[in-house]
Amino acid sequence: MKLDMTHAGDVGIIAVNETRIDAAVAVQFKDGVRELSINGPPRIVLDMAKVDFIDSSGLGAIVAAMKLQGGTRRLELARLSPAVGKVFRMTRMDTIFAIHDSLDVSSSS
C-alpha cells in the first residue's frame, strides 16, 4: 500500500498511490493512513486521484481512517474518480466527508 504524504501549509496531503482500495489491502490502507497522520498536521487530505476502484471494505477502511483521526482532526478526500464518487454518493458517505475536486485545499472549508 503506497501512501506518500506532503505538506501544504497546515494541510497534510496523503497521496494514495494505488489503483484499488479493496478487501486485499483495506487493513494496510487503514494502518498506513494512521501511521502517517499520527503527530501530523490538523487537516489531512487523501488524494484519491489514482484510485479507480473501491469496494465496501475499502469504504469501511476510509471510514475507519477518519474515525482514527479523533475529534480534533478531519479527514478530507480529493479528486475522486467517477466510479469512486458514485460509491460515496450511493452510500451517502459524500455527506460525511469533505470532498474536493482538486488539491487546492489551502483555505479552510
Binding site: 478487501a23 486485499a24 479507480d52 469496494d55 465496501s56 469501511g60 466510479a83 450511493m90
Partner: protein, 161 residues
C-alpha cells in the same frame, strides 16, 4: 453445454433469468483469497471490454461481483483461503448475468441479507464501517437470488448494461 430454449411464440418478453438460466458460458474457478478475487474481477472486466461494455457499466459489474466474492471469502469460507468458488457468467439481452457457487457455510437464516440503507445519523465515532456491501448489491442488481442445494451456495444475479 446446455443451449437456450426459445420462449414460446406469443408470450410476453421473459426476464433473462427465466428464459435461460443455465447458459452462462464464461467460467472462472478460484480459491477463496482476496488476491484471487482481484484476478477474477480482472478477467471479468477483460471479457466486458471485449464485449464493448462501457467503463461505467464495467465498474458497476466489478463492484457487485467484488462484494459477492468478498462475502464468500470472508463468510462462507471464514477466511480459510482454501475454498473453491465457481463463477459462471455471460452478457445476455443487455444484462450481465452471473452465478457464484461455493461450498462454504450457508447464508445466515438461509436468505440474502436485506437491503438496509446505512445509518449515518450517528456521532462520527459511531459511523458504520460495515454493512455497505449488500446495500450496494441490491441497489445495482436487477435480480439477485440465493439458493442452497446439496451443500452448495448459489447466488444468481443480473445487472442491466
Amino acid at each position: 453445454m446446455k443451449h437456450a430454449s426459445r420462449p414460446p411464440i406469443g408470450k410476453a418478453k421473459i426476464p433473462v433469468s427465466i428464459a435461460d438460466p443455465g447458459c452462462l458460458n464464461r467460467q472462472i474457478n478460484l480459491i477463496s483469497t482476496a488476491e484471487n478475487v482481484r484476478m477474477a474481477l480482472g478477467k471479468i472486466c477483460q471479457d466486458l471490454i471485449a464485449s464493448g461494455v462501457s467503463e461505467d457499466k464495467r465498474k458497476t459489474v466489478e463492484m457487485v461481483m467484488a462484494e459477492l466474492l468478498n462475502n464468500v471469502v470472508k463468510h462462507a469460507y471464514q477466511e480459510t483461503a482454501s475454498g473453491q468458488i465457481l463463477i459462471c457468467f455471460a452478457c445476455k439481452n443487455g444484462h450481465f448475468c452471473a452465478r457464484v457457487s461455493d461450498r462454504g457455510l450457508k447464508m445466515p437464516g438461509g436468505v440474502l441479507p436485506v437491503q438496509k440503507t446505512p445509518n449515518l445519523e450517528v456521532q462520527p465515532v459511531d459511523l458504520p464501517e460495515n454493512g455497505f456491501g449488500w446495500y450496494l448489491i441490491h441497489s445495482l442488481t436487477h435480480v439477485v437470488r440465493y439458493t442452497r442445494k446439496r451443500g452448495e451456495n448459489q447466488v444468481y444475479l443480473e445487472i442491466p448494461l
